[in-house]
Symmetry: C2
């Protein structure tokens, strides 16, 4: 079968479950993209290895306290503005490798969006320890999934390697923070640039060269 | 004389002449604030001493190349979107202590906004060396000011101390980057948050606490 035009790559939404701004972006990306008629793809990855390559062994929000204080206040305001729940997490950043492996293993599943949002809410609205298999299992069960089967798929070597490759791909494409929306090789860093990414996908172009 | 209400502090626009995002913000702040009916104040300061306190001896855009590559591309896009000229500067960041001292000395002058915009254009649209007294003098002369008198005022000890105090104040208020809009102790970092700062000044409040 041939079609008149090549398939268009969706906007890619790169996110990290430990990231506060990814929380704000992830909770609205699906509805905003739908409102613009733009297909998008969830792209879970790990910021830790990317931070390490830049010499950081912790979140920059912890390493640079002024930046951190601003971020927490900003998140309170953003959540208030967007009507999102927020509770200061008792641990930050949380280890997200298991949560991200599950998201990776669930690529293409119709419940992936619900899973992503539920994990983010657990971290930033419910202060639950998303690094634990118990909490991730609870989230999966709450979505009607077989938690044990899913956790097995997530921790299979093939899927672990897949998440590692995704993180590598993110770095190679120039991604250094989250969330980042990617459209045709252009990066839009930060949840507040989502509308720019969607406009770019729809063909708007602005550049001085 | 008594009035029915206390004077309201204007929105403060903290900026650094070496900062690309300050350029984008500075060129639009006056018209955007006017459109919202919000008074604002130019607050020049130096990012260098603030970066040093965070352990950086250079711009983070140079220290973290992935972040830097993104910023330059983002600036090209933002300038294209906003209709601002942009030319890659042959030196970055430029030393801005003299330019900032002049802005400090010109506080309250009706030509301050024109001076700020002209210096930013010299740096980011004309690739001129704004660290030089010759270039700053040219800018002042172009605005019909007596360059020599103004440079003398700018480099008087009292004015040097003033800029130092302003930078100290910025740090004490929690400012770590530029531009930052300050309203009633709330900080809004980044030119793309200007509209949020203006809304806050006008009484909008969104926060989860």
């Amino acid at each position: 079968m041939t079609t008149g035009r090549a398939a268009r790559a969706p906007m890619r939404f790169w996110f990290e479950f430990a990231s506060t701004y990814s929380y704000v972006g992830a909770l609205r990306v699906e509805s905003v993209a739908a409102a613009h008629g733009v297909p998008f793809e969830w792209k879970p990855f790990l910021l830790g290895p990317i931070f390490q390559r830049q010499g950081w062994t912790d979140s920059p929000f912890n390493l640079y306290p002024a930046r951190g204080r601003y971020m927490w206040r900003d998140i309170e305001r953003l959540c208030g503005k967007l009507g999102l729940p927020f509770r200061w997490p008792s641990a930050f950043p949380r280890h997200t490798v298991l949560a991200a492996r599950v998201a990776c293993a669930a690529a293409g599943e119709p419940w992936l969006g619900d899973y992503v949002r539920a994990v983010f809410r657990a971290n930033f609205a419910e202060d639950r320890d998303i690094s634990s298999a118990g909490v991730i299992g609870d989230v999966l069960a709450g979505l009607g999934r077989d938690a044990r089967t899913m956790l097995e798929r997530a921790t299979a070597q093939e899927n672990k390697d897949r998440l590692r490759r995704e993180t590598e791909t993110a770095w190679e494409r120039g991604i250094f923070g989250a969330p980042t929306a990617e459209v045709d090789g252009e990066l839009f860093w930060g949840g507040d640039r989502l509308e720019d990414a969607l406009a770019w996908w729809k063909g708007e172009r602005w550049s001085t060269r």
